[in-house]
Symmetry: C2
C-alpha cells in the first residue's frame, strides 16, 4: 500500500497478507519479494530468515494496545445504560475483528499450532485473553456501579465474548455476510442482558 514507508514495515505488511492467505509454508520469500517489487535476496538485508519475518509479525501485532479502539468515548458515555452499551460494545468488537488487517492476523493465529518448538509464540488463546481482560474490567466497573448483577467477571466475559468472537471466526474463515451479524448481535445482547440485569 504505502510504498514510501520503510522497507521493513512494508515487508511485514505484505507478509501479513501472504501468510494469512497461503499459510506460512505456502507463502514463499519470493512471493513476499515480488509483492514489494524487489528481489528475494534483498529481503535478507532486513530479516535474517523467513522464520524471523513471521516472529516479528506476530510480535508486532501481539504488542498493540487496541483498548481505545474498542472502549471508545462514545461507548464510555453510555455505560449507565447497559443494554445500549452492550450493543455498541459488540458492534465495536465485531467491527474491529472484521477489519481487513485484523482478519488477516486472526487467520494467521488460527492456522498456527502451538505445537512443540513454537510454544513460546503468541497464540489465539493469548489473543482472546487480551479481550477477556478488557471485558472483565468493564464488568467489574458495571458491578461496582450496580448497573448489573454481582457475578463472576470471568464467567461474564466468557459468556459475553464467546458468541461474538466465534461469529467473527465464521465471518473470517467462511463466506458469511456481515449483515447477518446485526441480528446476531441483537439476539446475543438480548439474551445476555436478560441474564445479568438486576
Amino acid at each position: 500500500m504505502n510504498q514510501s514507508k520503510n522497507t521493513k514495515e512494508h515487508i511485514l505488511d505484505v507478509s501479513l497478507k501472504l501468510f494469512s492467505e497461503k499459510t506460512y509454508y505456502g507463502a514463499s520469500i519470493r512471493d513476499i519479494a515480488k509483492a514489494i517489487d524487489k528481489r528475494e535476496s534483498s529481503i535478507y538485508n532486513h530479516f535474517k530468515s523467513k522464520e524471523e519475518i513471521f516472529e516479528q509479525l506476530i510480535l508486532k501485532f501481539s504488542s498493540r494496545n487496541f483498548g481505545p479502539l474498542i472502549l471508545t468515548d462514545q461507548l464510555i458515555n453510555i455505560i449507565s445504560k447497559p443494554e445500549k452499551f452492550f450493543i455498541l460494545l459488540s458492534e465495536n468488537l465485531i467491527h474491529f475483528w472484521n477489519s481487513e488487517e485484523e482478519r488477516m492476523f486472526i487467520k494467521i493465529l488460527l492456522a498456527k499450532n502451538s505445537n512443540g518448538e513454537s510454544k513460546k509464540y503468541y497464540s489465539i488463546e493469548n489473543y482472546l485473553n487480551d479481550f477477556k481482560a478488557l471485558s472483565e474490567f468493564i464488568f467489574r466497573e458495571m458491578i461496582s456501579h450496580k448497573f448489573i448483577k454481582k457475578m463472576d467477571v470471568v464467567v461474564l466475559s466468557q459468556e459475553f465474548i464467546s458468541p461474538l468472537f466465534l461469529a467473527a471466526i465464521e465471518l473470517i474463515l467462511g463466506l458469511k455476510s456481515e449483515t447477518i451479524q446485526k441480528s446476531l448481535i441483537k439476539n446475543h445482547v438480548e439474551f445476555f442482558w436478560n441474564s445479568v440485569k438486576k
Copy 2:
C-alpha cells in the same frame, strides 16, 4: 496405526495428522509416503494428486454422523432434568471435540481458507452448523416438553454452543489443560440454565 487396513484409508489417516500439524503446504507427498512406509510414487496409485487427498479427507470427515456420539442413551435418559442434561451434553461435546482425531480435523478446518477457488469446500462454518442443528433439535424438544422457557432455538443454540466450542478451539490450538474445562462447563451451564429455566 492399523497397518493392514487398505492403503487408501491409511494414506488418509496419516494425511490427517500431517496436514493438521504442518498445514497443507507444509506437509509433502514424501512426508505422507514416509509415514505409510512406501515410496511417494505409489501414492499416485490411490490418489491423482495431493489436492485430491485433501479433498477426500475433508469429504470423509464432513459426511460422518456424529449425532449418536453426542446424543448418547445416558444423555437422553435425563432430558427431563435439564441442568444435569446440559452438563452431560457439554461434557460429551468437549470430549468429542478434544478427541485425537477430531482435534486434527478441526485444526485443518481452522487453517483452511474458504478463499476463492475453494469456496465449494466444507468449512468451519458448515462444521459448526452441524452441531447447531443438533442442539436446535434438542432445544425444540425441551421447549415442547416445557422443560425450559419458550425461546428462539437458534439463539439458544448459539448461546449454548459458542462458549463450549471456543473453549475447544483454545484447547486445540493452545496449551490449555483439559482440567480447566471442568469448571468452564460448570460455570457456563449455570449461567445458561439461569437464563432458560422456567
